[in-house]
């Protein structure tokens, strides 16, 4: 497999054991201009991912063989590709597990086609978002190079997924402002109406574990009681 030109249709790997739903997704994604490949078991998912190199993964949490959370963790270990979970149990611990394993977003079954497509497009757009007037931002002792999509502490680069990068960037662009979880959901996840704030909580935790010196005592992403989060004071690296 050689490099695919950026302007070809975005590729989506659908991992779901329900064949009817998979086929339906294939039809719908195809009609929206995506290229989709189907995979019906958890065991085959990682291999399919390596082979297909998709731009986004739609991942059912309940799979025969290896379960979705496991697959999610493995894909995340080798790639920052956006992962959107499909789940039938939106209010259980499964969702939090999936998010903690690195999924960027989730869509609860039964979803509307428009809702799913909107989620996919948001994640894909963020992935290639070009920016902007400012080139470099400081947050805490970190330096964010916006166009390079990199975050550095001193000389060492910290690897973030596109979503984590967007989350950090959103906070860094307006330091000293406290963001509610709802505002972050809108800015980073593209939800127009407030939705599940667990998305924000889990991803802030993940992000902290990567960028904070001591995730127990966060200094870069500070919790504002009763509001949400804000960027910590910037200081020399």
């Amino acid at each position: 497999m050689s490099e695919v030109p950026r302007n070809s249709s975005p590729r989506i790997l659908v991992v779901d054991d329900d064949e009817a739903l998979s086929e339906m997704l294939h039809i719908v994604l195809g009609s929206e201009g995506f290229d989709a490949r189907l995979c019906h078991t958890g065991d085959a998912a990682v291999a399919a991912f390596r082979d297909y190199r998709p731009d986004l993964v739609l991942l059912d949490l309940m799979l025969p063989g290896r379960d979705g959370v496991d697959v999610c963790r493995e894909i995340r270990a080798e790639s920052g590709v956006p992962i959107v979970m499909l789940t039938a149990k939106s209010d259980t611990i499964d969702v939090v597990d999936g998010l903690a394993a690195g999924a960027d977003d989730y869509v609860a079954k039964p979803f509307k086609t428009q809702e799913l497509i909107a989620r996919i497009k948001t994640r894909l757009r963020r992935h290639v978002e070009p920016d902007s007037d400012v080139d470099s931002l400081r947050i805490g002792d970190l330096v964010i190079r916006v166009n390079e999509h990199t975050v550095r502490r001193g000389e060492s680069e910290i690897t973030l997924t596109p979503l984590e990068f967007d989350l950090l960037l959103a906070l860094a662009r307006r330091p000293r402002q406290a963001f509610t979880r709802e505002v972050l959901l809108e800015e980073v996840w593209g939800y127009r109406h407030a939705s599940d704030t667990r998305l924000v909580n889990v991803h802030v935790q993940r992000l902290r574990s990567k960028i904070e010196q001591d995730p127990e005592k966060p200094e870069i992403i500070v919790t504002v009681r009763g509001v949400g989060y804000r960027a910590g004071e910037s200081k020399p690296a």
């Binding site: 009817a20 739903l21 339906m24 009609s31 309940m62 086609t113 979880r181 407030a194």
Partner: protein, 520 residues
């Protein structure tokens, strides 16, 4: 008054078994002790006094007979009778003086002779008149009084008469002091009283301790029952002691075991139910997703269909929405029923959150020409699950729009130290006070014939109520036909705390104005 009543004796009587046992035992003991004490005193005083009387009479009798013998053998030629008597009396008095045994008084026609200092009124008239004739002896109790400074003392008079030749018989009185006997009796009385007091005290303590001993297993059983009630189903009582007590412990333990079994059974059932709900959820949702997407594809192409197929695809989509809502609500209710619902607590500014929900529904309200007014405190932060609070608010506001007849709706948000209240007030059709209790019932509809504009599954308010309860909060409904309705949600500021009041009244404060307007 209340505090006084609680400590009043009859309260203690009603509440404390040891108190009751001790008091009844004491009452019975006092009756018995008083009766036996009285009997004892009566018997001993009778016995002692009777003994004294007997001894006194015997003594007097011997003295009198000596005197009589002497008198009968006296040679009246050498001495006069009165001299002789005087001498005899002096002798008798001297003898009586020895050992303080008795006083002798003889009343001659001329004077009183005998022991010096004894007052004449020591001898009662009754015995004076009885002594007249015969050889008999009379005795009666009296008080011995003295003409000098000696203190009067209790005593016994023994009377006899002395025949003096040629003269009327002289009455002779022996006065025996019973002071000693009285003293003995007093000592006995004191001893009896002291014994009684000691007995009572000892009895009280013994009975109290015994009652405690008897109550101990009862108290242990009570403690065990309380621990069971607190959920410590593994606790058992020690089976010791007498048959009764051991039996009590055995029964308690048996009960605990049965309870434990039943609860485990129920828990298993509940787990099965939860699993079932969860499985139904997954199993139904996946095919429903497929159906929904397929319906949407059809719906998108309906223009190319013939009219019947086009309309069918529209109906399919619309009914799928209803089906999905109903499924979601049913699953939510099942989750509450299974006790599987959990709060995701966060610090949330309820004023801001309410504002967002009002704004989100404003467009919908405008469709029926309804004006929505938000009347909120600046910041009302509480520890709540924002998803659930939003769901409650959405439900209350949608209901208000649906039943508000296009009249303005006000949403109030108020906070105090304890809690935050959000009240949704409409001026629509309202409902009767009797119906206020029913609105939270599942699938309840005020008027089944009323058309549904918004739809709604009939489970919305039931879910809202469960959501409120999950927060430890209240959801109350107030309504009057024609005057509208007010639903008020109150949640505690801090999760897990108990609400004692709400910052907003159940009955809308604007009611007076409304009533006036309605009367006009």
């Amino acid at each position: 008054m209340k505090g006084w009543a609680r400590f009043a004796p009859f309260q203690l009587w009603a509440r404390s078994l040891p108190f009751r046992v001790v008091l009844s035992t004491l009452a019975a003991a006092v009756v018995i002790l008083v009766a036996t004490g009285w009997f004892l005193m009566d018997q001993s005083s009778r016995g002692i006094l009777a003994g004294k009387t007997q001894a006194s009479v015997a003594e007097a009798s011997s003295v009198v007979s000596t005197m009589r013998r002497d008198l009968s053998t006296t040679d009246l030629r050498t001495t006069s009778a009165s001299e002789r008597i005087s001498r005899l009396v002096r002798e008798a008095a001297n003898r009586g003086q020895v050992g303080n045994q008795y006083f002798v008084v003889v009343e001659t026609p001329i004077s009183q002779i005998g022991t010096a200092g004894v007052a004449a009124d020591s001898i009662p008239e009754s015995i004076r008149s009885a002594v007249g004739t015969g050889d008999g002896l009379w005795s009666t109790p009296t008080m011995i009084r003295f003409t000098d400074s000696r203190v009067e003392e209790p005593g016994l008079v023994v009377a006899a008469s002395l025949d003096v030749p040629g003269q009327a018989p002289y009455p002779i009185f022996f006065l025996f002091s019973t002071a000693q006997e009285r003293q003995t009796l007093a000592v006995v009385q004191q001893a009896a009283l002291a014994t009684g007091v000691f007995l009572l005290a000892g009895l009280t303590i013994t009975v109290y301790l015994t009652s405690l001993q008897v109550l101990r297993p009862v108290r242990l059983a009570r403690l065990a029952a309380e621990r069971l009630a607190a959920g410590h189903l593994d606790d058992r009582m020690a089976v010791v002691g007498t048959e009764d007590l051991a039996g009590l412990a055995r029964s308690m333990n048996h009960m605990a075991e049965e309870l434990d079994k039943k609860i485990t059974q129920l828990q298993n059932l509940s787990l099965v139910q939860q699993r079932f709900v969860s499985d139904v959820s997954h199993e139904l949702r996946t095919p429903l997703t497929t159906i929904r997407m397929a319906a949407e594809v059809l719906h998108a192409h309906r223009a190319a269909f013939d009219p019947a197929s086009g309309r069918s695809s529209e109906l399919l989509s619309a009914e799928l929405d209803r089906f999905e809502e109903l499924l979601t609500d049913l699953l939510e209710i099942s989750r509450f029923d299974a006790g599987a619902a959990q709060l995701a607590i966060d610090d949330v500014d309820l004023a801001a959150l309410t504002g967002e929900e009002v704004d989100a529904l404003r467009h919908f309200a405008e469709q029926s020409g309804t004006v929505m007014v938000l009347d909120a405190d600046v910041r009302c932060v509480a520890e709540v699950d924002s998803r659930r609070i939003r769901r409650i608010l959405r439900n209350l506001i949608t209901n208000a729009i649906e039943h508000g007849e296009g009249r303005p709706i006000t949403v109030h948000v108020r906070g105090d130290d304890q809690g935050v209240a959000i009240a949704v007030r409409d001026h629509g059709v309202g409902f009767s006070a009797a119906e206020a209790g029913q609105v939270f019932n599942r699938f309840w509809r005020a008027d089944p014939s009323r058309g549904r504009r918004v739809g709604g599954t009939g489970l919305g308010l039931s879910i809202a109520l469960e959501d409120a309860r999950l927060h430890g909060g209240w959801l109350t409904a107030w309504g009057r036909p024609g005057l509208g309705a007010q639903f008020r949600l109150t949640v505690p500021r801090r999760a897990g705390e108990t609400l004692h009041g709400s910052p907003w009244p159940v009955v809308p404060p604007d009611l007076k104005e409304v009533t006036k307007l309605a009367l006009k």
